[in-house]
């Protein structure tokens, strides 16, 4: 079985990592049925790091059958929650023991700063696995009083086989957010990592075995969305898909599910999240949060606060301070100690973002800072701020997924709410003000699944997350996620009601 070894010798991390590049099905690495491969590119310089096996429909079929067999014979409710929890905790422990190596792989693959990969992505992944380990033996239904001749109760049974399609912006974290609740609830899982970022998912596979998960309970099949992802969505033996990615692909998945076995679908899609800044804010803190809101992960976050509404009274001061802060963000090598922002993930994304920047200019917005490529190697883009934005501009309506902020001036609270809601999306929003009554009113008025008050991109594992409108269906994180990985059965026991 082929594998890939990388030698890290950087200021942030020195070490070796070896990753199997096959498909992980039924507890071992195998070759794909059709001998295809996918190149893994280093976004720092556009060069190929390695290639991994490309799974297709044939492999998804093998994985689905293995997962179903495992679910029926050695997983599901045959394994008590206490044991499922132990395995998840063990997996978390193993990940923690190797966290630096995983962070380095993630930084290499995605292009995000090592420090961020280690303290954000890895810590979040470990914590998510532990959090859901704790739920595994606490999946409770209800007994419900009806009448003396009946015992009625609910059971929260596992759904069965879950297909998890994971994005490239937080590869390991998103994988953990999905397998955590899925496994805790007793499901078997097939993970399809993003074809752009398969490395940490592959590196995790031997840890599944070491943690004691029975063969077939977790499988990892790399491949393109249009082949492997599509095959998962179609498969008649897959009971549920959980997808994080673009709204466009989300629609395809839901459509495919409806045309095949009506499998359950949860979607976590795009956003064009508004940050609304009133003129009574603590300016220094607001600038930092708003910057974190749009520039975190190089703007490659579904919750990016990409529309920034600033009240007239503070507009000039905010713009000045925000510009100063954004200009101080260091763009560069992910493994340099002081790097804030690395490259965008791929040539395609780079071109897309540059295309939006071009359209912004063409539609009459002003590039206040940035707007150009950074350097001449790889996919780096300068942190960019547009002003003079109008509601119908592409850069205001469409998700850019890059380090591009659109700033819009507003006068009244009503106007801000109306403009904030003027979008098909509804993933998140943030409100900045010292007036607590206003903060709550506005947070309650904006149509979004997460409302941040005086912060942005500040998530918690125990608090649910998901979108209104076209930003998605269902919720991840917190107890709420479990609902999407369980099937509710109501049991009615007749005790003496005779016809």
């Amino acid at each position: 079985m082929s594998s890939f070894t990388y030698q890290f010798d950087t200021p942030s991390y020195k070490g070796t990592s070896t990753v199997s590049t096959g498909l992980f099905i039924n507890g071992k690495f195998v070759e794909p049925v059709e001998k295809g491969t996918i190149e893994v590119v280093n976004p720092v310089n556009g060069k190929v790091i390695t290639s991994v096996a490309a799974g297709t429909a044939a492999d998804i079929d093998i994985a689905a059958r293995a997962a179903r067999k495992a679910y029926k014979e050695r997983w599901g409710l045959k394994v008590p929650g206490v044991q499922r929890g132990r395995m998840l905790n063990k997996l978390a422990d193993l990940l923690e023991a190797n966290a630096d190596e995983f962070a380095a792989l993630e930084a290499l693959d995605v292009g995000k700063a090592f420090r961020v990969a280690r303290n954000g992505d890895m810590s979040g992944s470990i914590a998510a696995l532990r959090y859901y380990a704790g739920w595994a033996d606490k999946i409770q239904g209800k007994t419900i009083e009806t009448n003396a001749k009946k015992l009625a109760y609910t059971r929260h049974e596992p759904v069965g086989v879950v297909g998890a399609i994971v994005p490239w912006n937080f590869p390991l974290t998103m994988l953990s957010f999905k397998i955590g609740p899925a496994l805790a609830a007793g499901n078997a899982v097939i993970v399809k990592p993003s074809e752009l970022t398969p490395l940490t998912a592959l590196r995790l596979c031997p840890l599944f075995v070491e943690a004691g998960f029975p063969d077939g309970v977790i499988n990892v099949v790399n491949g393109y969305g249009s082949t492997a992802g599509q095959a998962l969505s179609e498969h008649m033996a897959v009971d549920k898909i959980t997808f994080t990615g673009s709204t466009l692909t989300g629609r395809k998945i839901m459509e495919t599910a409806s045309k095949t076995n009506l499998k359950k679908v949860t979607l976590e899609l795009g956003g064009k999240s508004p940050s609304v800044i009133f003129d009574d804010v603590d300016l220094e803190q607001t600038v930092k949060w708003v910057s974190h809101g749009i520039f975190m992960n190089h703007g490659q976050a579904c919750t990016a606060g990409s529309r920034i509404f600033v009240q007239a009274g503070i507009y000039d001061r905010f713009l000045k301070a925000f510009t100063e802060h954004a200009s101080s963000l260091k763009v560069g090598d992910p493994f340099a100690r002081d790097t804030y922002q690395g490259p965008q993930i791929s040539q395609t994304q780079f071109e897309r973002i540059m295309g939006y920047i071009k359209s912004g200019k063409e539609e009459g917005a002003t590039v206040h800072i940035g707007g150009e490529r950074h350097g001449n190697e790889g996919y780096f883009i300068q942190p960019t701020i547009f002003t003079e934005c109008k509601p119908n501009m592409k850069i205001v309506q469409e998700e850019i997924f890059g380090p591009v902020a659109a700033i819009i001036k507003f006068a009244t609270e009503e106007e801000a709410i109306e403009q904030a809601n003027n979008t098909v999306y509804g993933l998140a929003c943030s409100v900045f003000t010292r007036d607590i009554d206003r903060a709550i009113r506005v947070a309650h008025s904006i149509e979004a699944g997460t409302a941040w008050i005086n912060c942005h991109n500040s998530s918690e594992l125990s608090v649910p997350f998901g979108g209104f409108k076209q930003s998605g269906i269902g919720r991840e994180l917190g107890e709420y996620a479990l609902e999407h990985y369980t099937n509710l059965k109501a049991v009615h026991v007749n005790i003496g009601h005779r016809l």
Binding site: V82, W135, K138, D437, I440, I495
Partner: protein, 508 residues
């Protein structure tokens, strides 16, 4: 002057170890503040030899411990620590107990008398799982947001940790009862002053060492071995203890509740005695029912609050079942905890031994028939062999009075289901009950009718950490342990009404 540790030797396993013998306050072992010469003498119930002595805490020591717990609650614990962090520490504690399970099991067996293997595999095995279970709850304590008026108010609840908790635990399952109390209290963010039983404080002191090793901040858990009438009473009456949790006799439970009422109305949860009945119906699998009946009254040598000490057998199967029962009960070997053959150990103390024998004598005197046991064993050790009485009636002490807390079973008979239920419920207790039947409708009817906090259907005695446990009637109506329900005992609900839109006209 009591020293702070002592060396003990466990001959059976060739182990020598140092055991802490001081009071555990702020993560350190210290002598008593005002009565350094007061000691508690610990006896090996299998041999009647002295094991060692430990410090006996005074009222002043309780006061110091409570102050330490309060300080920790206000600074390093309570709302100052995240659920995530509490979860980590509880999991670490479970790992350490797992690491030390053999040593802990040996000392538990030495001090309490129960067989070593049972101490390790059941008492400690369940303990580790219990702590891990509550570790999982620590970061999942949620309140509600409640729709009131969307234009003007945000209403929500917060489940605050209740504060400083006094925990008084019994001698029958020293380590396991410690975990049942410590797990949910720490998960919710409370701090603890633990008063282990004066008969069996050794493992509580060893576990205190692990609390420090796991990394809990000083003052979060404090351990004061002392007499119930001293330490237990002091905790129950203390003006700065927010809650007292007690497991033990109903007599003492009353005193705890009274002291709470007379002091600061602290929250009280009680897990008290029982006189738990089992019913065997004619459709039951008799072999299995006999096995469960034996487990019910003989496990832990009958020293179990849910001991199924009354058994009622349906007329039609009475003779067959009783002879089956007697032959199975005979198979249990009561002996030294370190003897491989022992399925049960001695009773924990002379006092208990004398009490159980008084009941056995009363059974005879009041006319019940001894079909098994009833013979005192010669020699050292508080050993009582399985004893079964038949031909009972409701006026006998062995049937109607308090829990015997020994391997003594009273067996009666019934004709109809209604009669069986009536006999079973004829007690001021209501902790556990069992029924054995293969008629599904009967199982539902009878389990519904039995007045007990835990009803076992075609089983007895076996609990799970995620299923709540507690009593009805005088077995302790206040509170439940285990499951998510235990969290209610250690949280205090605050409702917040946040007005963001209503202006008040004044005067009204």
């Amino acid at each position: 002057m009591a020293s702070l540790s002592t060396r003990i030797v466990i001959r059976a396993t060739n182990r020598e170890l140092d055991i802490p013998t001081g009071l555990f306050i702020n993560n350190e072992f210290v002598p008593s503040a005002d009565s350094p010469n007061d000691l508690i003498h610990l006896v090996n119930p299998a041999t009647e030899e002295t094991i060692c002595t430990v410090a006996a805490g005074s009222v002043k020591d309780i006061d110091i411990a409570v102050a330490a717990a309060r300080k920790a609650f206000n600074t390093t614990w309570g709302k100052n620590v995240t659920g995530f962090e509490r979860s980590k520490l509880l999991n670490k504690l479970a790992d350490l107990i797992e690491r030390d399970q053999d040593i802990l099991a040996e000392v538990e067996s030495l001090n309490n008398g129960k067989p070593f293997k049972i101490a390790r595999d059941f008492d400690i095995g369940d303990t580790i799982q219990c702590l891990r279970y509550y570790a999982g709850w620590a970061d999942k304590i949620t309140g509600q947001t409640i729709e009131v008026d969307n234009k003007t108010k945000l209403a929500f609840t917060r489940h605050d940790p209740i504060g400083v908790c006094g925990q008084i635990i019994p001698w029958n399952y020293p380590i396991n009862m410690w975990a049942w109390k410590v797990g949910p209290a720490l998960a919710c963010g409370c701090t603890i002053v633990m008063k282990p039983s004066e008969l069996t404080p050794l493992t509580a002191l060893m576990l205190s060492k692990l609390i420090a090793e796991a990394g809990f901040p000083p003052g979060v858990v404090n351990t004061i071995p002392s007499l119930g009438s001293v330490g237990g009473a002091a905790l129950s009456a203390h003006m700065d203890v927010d809650k007292v949790a007690f497991t033990g006799s109903t007599v003492t439970g009353r005193k705890v509740m009274e002291a709470a009422a007379k002091s600061n109305l602290k929250k009280v949860s009680l897990e008290l005695g029982g006189k738990s009945p089992q019913l065997v119906f004619e459709s039951a699998d008799l072999e299995q029912a006999a096995n469960w009946a034996c487990l019910g009254v003989l496990y832990n040598t009958g020293q179990d609050c849910t001991a199924g000490s009354r058994l009622y057998v349906q007329d039609t199967i009475y003779d067959k079942f009783v002879s089956l029962l007697v032959s199975k009960a005979k198979e249990l070997v009561i002996g030294d905890g370190f003897d491989e053959k022992s399925g049960g150990g001695p009773l924990v103390s002379k006092t208990q031994f004398d009490k159980v024998w008084r009941y056995i004598e009363s059974g005879r005197a009041q006319g019940a028939k001894v079909v098994l046991g009833g013979q005192k064993r010669p020699g050292k050790g508080f050993f009582v062999d399985p004893t079964i009485f038949t031909d009972i009636n409701a006026n006998m002490d062995i049937v109607s009075a308090k829990a015997i807390f020994g391997p003594v079973l009273a067996v009666g008979r019934f004709k109809t289901e209604e009669e069986g239920i009536s006999l079973a419920n004829d007690t001021s207790y209501g902790l556990g009950a069992g029924l054995h039947s293969n008629d599904a409708n009967q199982c539902m009817r009878v389990s519904s009718a039995l007045e007990a906090g835990t009803v076992w259907v075609n089983q007895y005695n076996l609990l799970n950490n995620n299923v709540p446990f507690g009593g009805k009637k005088q077995s302790g109506i206040v509170g439940r342990e285990l499951g998510s329900y235990a969290l209610d005992e250690y949280t205090s609900v605050k409702a917040i009404h946040w007005n963001f839109g209503e202006k008040l006209d004044w005067p009204l």
